[in-house]
Amino acid sequence: MANTVIESDLSLVRDITKLGGGSLKKCFQCATCSVVCNLSSDDRPFPRKEMIWAQWGLKDKLLSDPDVWRCYQCGDCSVYCPRGAKPAEVMGAIRNYSFKNYAQPKFMGTLLSSPKYLPLLFAVPVILFLLVLNGIGALSAVPSGPIAFTRFDNYVDVIFVTVSVLVLAALGTGVLKFWKNMDRNNTHGEAYGTTGIFQSILLAAEEVLTHRNFKKCEANSIRFTGHFAAFYGFIALFIVTSIVFIGDRVFHMVLPMGQENPVKVLGNLGAAALIIGCSVAVYNRTARTQQAGESSYYDWLFLGILFSIGVTGLSTELIRLAGDAPAAYWSYFIHLVFVFCLIAYFPYSKFAHLLYRFVAIVYARYSGMSEPAQAAEPEKPEVKSVA
């Protein structure tokens, strides 16, 4: 067996505490959590092992652990934890710690970790967009003619494409490092590589798209509902945005589309789903803290941005339809600010979980880690009729 030299990092416990895992030291390793968790696999159950790694400050182990990302924070473990150690929250904190750690450049990770940098985070897109508006003279006069957001395309494109490239580069490095770390610390071995990488990706995509494992949450099943709605709302909007982007830039589609256009319908439905999903999440995180656990700054920041994108997107559309040009433009402005925040801060915010989780699941499939046990669902007692 490997022999780890322990150099406990006292700061790790402090960091995880700051990131929302303040109860981690309470764990006394009974493994109730690993057992009540419906997502935890038989061969590599979590989160018991992650709890002691975190307690002991074993940073490398946590950063290279795919299981951290196989947790959907259902909260079943926290409900049954005999010590009040709230493993679900600790796992969330470890994830926060993880993407903060993989973030490149490092200072971006720091900027996203505390509310004190929040004004700065928003100032960047606001100033950027104001400069653009100022440059095209739109600040002094509302553009005349029909309300058409396409008039800002060139500038927006420059900004977003640049940001996207940077973000993709940052994400790429982070994810690559993550993959390598997982691979380096993989002692699992045996079934490694029997599932090809493409098949693994397909399997992971299937899991993510169906929320197959997320559905197994018990204590906090409402979380699944919220996430499912927000997730598909977001996907729909992403598809719509992509169609519009390509349609506009490549095929010079006529914009805005009519309300009866299927793409438009999808967009509206997506927005509604996103808003509903986010609302459920907000409700769950505020009214049901007992089951949902305490939420961290990361949770709120991401949820806030997502929620705001939905709301501002919808309001922009409604104002546009109402014909109030200045209001519509400003609303669009705000919408873009949030979109910027979502994209630009992708690798450093909770949004990153989308990718890290996906990669972790791919890795789990690829390296032959087992699925959660089938027996997790207790059989219902059969009612026998009396002969």
Binding site: T4, K25, K26, Q29
Partner: protein
Amino acid sequence: MDKKLGVYICSGCDIGNSLDVDKLIAVARDEQKIPVCTKHATLCSAEGVGLIKKDIQEQGVNSVVVAACSPRVHFDTFSFDPSVFVERVNLREHVAWSHVSKDEDTQMLADDYMRMGITKATKANPPKPYVENIAKTVLVIGGGITGMTSALEAAKTGYKVVLVEKAPVLGGWMRRWYKQLPQNPPYKNLQDADIERTISAVKTNPDIQVFTSAEIDSIAGQPGMFDVSIRQNGKAITQRTGSVVVATGWKPYDAGKVEGLGFGQFPNVINNVMMEDIAVQGKGQIRRPSDNKEVKSIVFVQCVGSRDKNHLPYCSSVCCLASLKQASYVRASNPDARVYIVYKDMRTPGQYENFYKDKQADNGIFLTKGDVAGVAENPDTSLTVSVKNTLIGEDVSIKADMVVLATGMVPATDSSILNLQYRQGKELPLLKYGFPDSNFICFPYETQRTAIYAAGCVHQPAESRACKDDATGAAMKAIQALELETRGAAVHPRAGDLSYPIFFMQKCTSCKRCTEECPFGAIDEDDKGTPKPNPNRCRRCGVCMGACPERIISFENYSVDIVSSMLKSIEVPEEDEEKPRILVLACENDAYPAFDIAGFNRTAYNSNVRIIPVRCLGSVNIVWIADALSRGIDGIMLIGCKYGDDYQCHFVRGSELANRRMENLKEVLQRLVLEPERVQVKELAIAEYDRIPGIMDDFLAKVTELGPNPYKSF
């Protein structure tokens, strides 16, 4: 005093339905010639008891035979003036409820029990107690927290105390502790050891006489009258005390004996006692021994010596708590310090779970189960501890400035403590691993040396709160022994028994069997080997009586002669009647009640069986077997408690001795052309009453197979 017997037969509770009571009266009146003989439908009723009382008063009856239910019920109903001897014939549980009613054999059984009861009542007398002048002083040996607590509690109850401490000062280990475990809710915060207050309370108590730098030279005599010779600074001082509390405490196990941990080899590997010294010397600052450097990382290795078959096979109970306590010293000393505790199982029972929980929450304390494979020293005198089988999922190495070995407690019983002038040895007999503990769960103060009680860590490894409770319990027993001795009564388990063994010395052959076999070391002997009984050391089990080949030892109400006469009163039918007779000698605490419960459950067993209760199987004299066999009894079974390591005999070796004696008897039987299988010893616990019919049937089958006792016709 002339014996005047009265026989009273109850016909209630099915006795009358099952038996011909008039025939029983005939046995008493016509055969046994007892003139006062009455039957009653409900003897336990006021009317029934009134009959007996009337006869006692008006007819001068002084020996009452109550033939009714078991002596285990209605004890107080049939208790009269202490001068009146009461014998209970168990017609209900042992006859009517456990045998076929209106049956010839059942009637014969009842007749025999009547005969035995009447015989016993004729021969036995109410005991007269052995009363001497008792010194109401408790000797406490050991001036640590346990000894001091015993002394203070005894003094508070109004008894004098002599406290002897080996060291020049009182206080024991607690004086060396930097802090002590929380003593009260919420069981989270360490407290000052605060031993000085206790020391001064002891010193200023007028009823406690303290001898420091002192040891016991000898203790002679018997409870209530111990002559204690104390040696202090070369001088011998004599004190008379009545009972003793042994509170000599413990020593840390020599960690050097545990290989691979570097104790005594690396300066920064210390034991948990040394850790207290470091904390005290540094006033809470923890600095490592090699270079006085502030400790930034430290590893506690649990179970050093303890829970290890090569060292101390037991758990020392306190080390987990002690290490958690010392971990908080380190954390208080340096907020950046890292403390690692490697345990086998974290043992913080009861409310101390709170203490564990509290320490666990400390960011700088790291806990894991694991096996420490070794400690190695690095060039800078820091240490590397390798740990296997951890909760982390792999083996780990921990680098630390210092290592504390949580060494276990060894009871301080290796040197001479009591120096008892007893024929059977100078110290308390040790049970296991050097602890002189009682072998009984139900009676933790059941000592093998009457009126001498162990308490605190010499009794069992324990934290100070438990030690104080134990100290108080031992003080209670020591005081109680004094009070019982004052009345001439036995202490536990026959508490209150006023009988004691009387030796008919003229016939003694100085064979020393009694002095060797007494489980309590009660009998000394002179140079010639003549026994010198000490009634106050005696627990009245009768093992000496069973041992004596000359039958010179007897109690007023229990003797070789009484039981011999009882069994001889059994009517043995002729061989051709095909009614074998089995005699059961049953331990009165376990086997006898088991027969009662069988009866209560209406469990039938063979009615050829006759039961005589004995105080202990150890009191069974071989003569009884001989008498029974020569009487024509076909088989004899001794039923007693389990013996061996986990013996259940409250007189320690009674059933074991009986077994050994019966083994020796086999040879004799063979010489007499009698099959040794006719005598058997059986272990039966009180709860095993369901086994009785089977045991009896098996034995009867065996005896039937052997054929009738050839001595029947003689």
